[in-house]
Amino acid sequence: MKNWLKVERAKRNITQADLANALNVSRQTINSIELGKFIPSTVLALRLAKYFNVKVEDIFFLEDNEK
């Protein structure tokens, strides 16, 4: 699974620390999600989508071999 989290963050000019504070997670968590090293739970994915005011599918998407 990949994501556009970094892109969404860049669009709004938000740092990883700001996003982490807003969602009450650690900065390392945001970093590892962006790097694709950690798959967030459904709750966190929904919270991220809500924060950016987009759908979950707009941030997270499956790779071709995962479909």
Partner: protein, 185 residues
């Protein structure tokens, strides 16, 4: 008497955590607050230094060394099972990973100690496993390893096959040995 009291204190502390675990819900342990970690680490450091001094100089009696060992364990327990500054789902994944690795290391240490008759004191094994847990947890937190669950994509690698072959060989040799012993008797 003092050692028994120290044991009781440490066991009471651990039992308090277990009690909270059952009361709060599906947690492995009721984790301490983040500030407890620093306290635990400081005390563990002090007790470890005390023990090294005791071992090197031989100035402290055996009873006191045992007491220091128990309190080291307690301090390490406090440090190991306390929350992160921001304790989120990634921290829990890392904690689970660290516990798995530590458990395997602990089993290996106990097995080696038993097989080769090293006669290491069990308190040292307990303390070292807690230290291993702390090191793995902090390394994993810092180096950000992969925590991705991929369903059905894992292939059996050569190490799995090798382990199965070794276990089969050991099992077969045990079986042959038992049969031979039965036949000769």
């Amino acid at each position: 008497m003092t050692i028994k009291l120290a044991y009781m204190t440490s066991m009471l502390y651990i039992c308090r955590n277990l009690k909270q675990h059952y009361m709060k819900g599906p947690n492995l342990f009721a984790l301490n607050e983040h500030s407890i970690r620093r306290t635990g680490l400081i005390f563990a450091g002090i007790f470890i230094v005390l023990e090294i001094i005791a071992k090197v100089t031989g100035s402290i009696q055996h009873m006191h060394v045992s007491l220091v060992n128990i309190y080291t364990m307690l301090a390490l327990f406090m440090a190991a099972f306390s929350k992160d500054k921001v304790d989120d789902e990634r921290s829990q994944a890392i904690r689970y990973f660290s516990l798995k690795v530590t458990f395997k290391c602990l089993l290996a240490a106990i097995s080696i100690n038993y097989i080769y008759k090293f006669n290491f004191e069990s308190i040292y094994i307990a303390n070292s496993s807690l230290i291993v847990y702390l090191i793995i947890y902090h390394l994993a937190n810092y180096y950000n390893p992969v925590f991705i669950f991929k369903e059905g994509t894992r292939k059996k690698n050569w190490s799995d096959k090798l382990l199965v072959i070794i276990m089969l060989l050991i099992g077969t040799s045990f079986f042959i040995h038992i049969v031979q012993a039965m036949l000769t008797s």
